[in-house]
């Protein structure tokens, strides 16, 4: 893939390195001469000391044959113009991606024809929100400091990987997690190894403090793979 990266700050620098490492062809545009000189020490002739928000330099960089143009300068207005120019100049409609610093600009950009934006603020916020949501799934009932154990209640959501599985096949003890009871509705069920977990169940378990996070990830988070140690 041929990628034009506009903006040689921290994001542009690391992005360029990664893209090269993955075997892509790149041109890195940075208009600040001092900054560009530093980048050239690593990327050599791949660095173009020109303003990527000027159409003629974007053409010079090869926008007409680019597969992707990534605008990652620190100024949203520059990133907007880079993407709009790409839409105009690219012959085969290269994909363009804009970094936005002000998350409110995602909607503004969309209305101005730039659909793909990435906001660090939004990304971090979404992760925080996820944590807050997960916190609601875990209730720390009691801590037994001396034995290094904690009594924890986990709520099982529909997207949890434990739904539909027999308790015996979950291997909870390998997460330092000893199940005491399964609360279903108003009923407390004996944790028989054949019992199948349903969504909405509350798993009450004695968990070793040092492996509590792995146990939480396993029961609560559907996507992330937990490495077995």
């Amino acid at each position: 893939m041929f990628v034009i990266v506009v903006g040689g700050g921290k994001v542009g620098y690391h992005l360029s390195r990664e893209l090269l490492g993955l075997g892509n062809e790149i041109v890195l545009m940075e208009s600040d001469h001092e900054r560009a000189a530093k980048l050239r020490a690593e990327f050599g002739s791949l660095v173009l000391t020109k303003d990527g928000s000027e159409g003629r330099w974007l053409k010079f960089a090869g926008v007409t044959r680019a597969d992707l143009v990534v605008a990652v300068t620190g100024d949203d207005e520059d990133n907007l113009v880079v993407c709009q120019l790409t839409n105009m100049l690219s012959k085969h409609k290269a994909r363009s991606l804009a970094r936005i610093n002000n998350p409110n600009n995602a909607a503004v950009f969309r209305k101005l024809g730039v659909d793909e934006t990435v906001s660090a603020t939004d990304l971090i916020l979404s992760m925080i929100e996820k944590d807050v949501e997960d916190a609601g799934a875990v209730v720390h009932l009691m801590r037994l400091e001396e034995s290094g154990l904690e009594l924890v209640e986990y709520r099982v959501y529909a997207d949890s990987r434990v739904v539909g599985k027999r308790l015996g096949e979950l291997g909870l003890p390998s997460y330092g997690c000893n199940l005491c009871t399964v609360i279903r509705g108003a009923e407390a069920l004996f944790p028989d190894s054949q019992l199948i977990v349903e969504k909405g169940d509350m798993l009450v378990a004695l968990v070793q403090l040092d492996s509590a996070e792995r146990a939480r990830q396993f029961i609560v988070e559907p996507e992330i793979k937990v490495e077995m140690t």
Binding site: S53, E54, G55, R56, D75, D76, E77, D78, L80, V81, Q84, L85, M88, N102, N104, N105, V108, K111, L112
Partner: protein
């Protein structure tokens, strides 16, 4: 020329040009609001200016709304950055439906590109160069 007095005009950027324009429009009887993100910039406004000033970043929709963009007749962008002017000009036109938008763009190529997209751009570089060329020829005529 039609009589445009009594119109509601927002001028973004209170540099030399922005301040001069805002003062002129205000003296001509138009309602003018000037936006700048530097407080000191408003000192450039002339005595004839009777409009309002808003301290803030005009790329922020809330700032534009507080400037009354929803009932503005016209918006002029004259900040130092071409891309800033282009972005705010497009916001005024596309997001808020302002009928008359004028965008300053120093770079002639960018000015042409966005003019082709339907944005009314003014390129001081080109205009300045033309005026200087004309007065150069004029002075040459006088000498000959």
């Amino acid at each position: 020329m039609s009589d445009n007095s009594g119109e509601y005009v927002i001028v973004v950027g209170c540099g030399r040009v922005g301040a001069e324009l805002a003062t002129t429009l205000s003296a001509e009887g138009q309602s003018v609001v000037v936006i700048d993100r530097e407080m000191d910039a408003f000192e450039r406004l002339g005595e004839a200016f009777t409009g309002a000033t808003i301290f803030g970043n005009a790329m922020d929709e809330e700032v534009l709304v507080s400037a009354g963009i929803n009932h503005a007749d016209a918006v002029v962008t004259a900040t130092q950055g071409d891309n800033t002017n282009i972005m705010i000009g497009q916001m005024a036109k596309t997001l808020f439906g302002v009928k008359r938008v004028v965008v300053r763009c120093y770079d002639p190529v960018r000015s042409d590109t966005y003019a082709a997209l339907g944005l009314k751009t003014v390129c001081p570089t080109r205009i300045g160069a033309q005026i200087m060329r004309d007065s150069l020829l004029e002075s040459a005529d006088k000498c000959s």
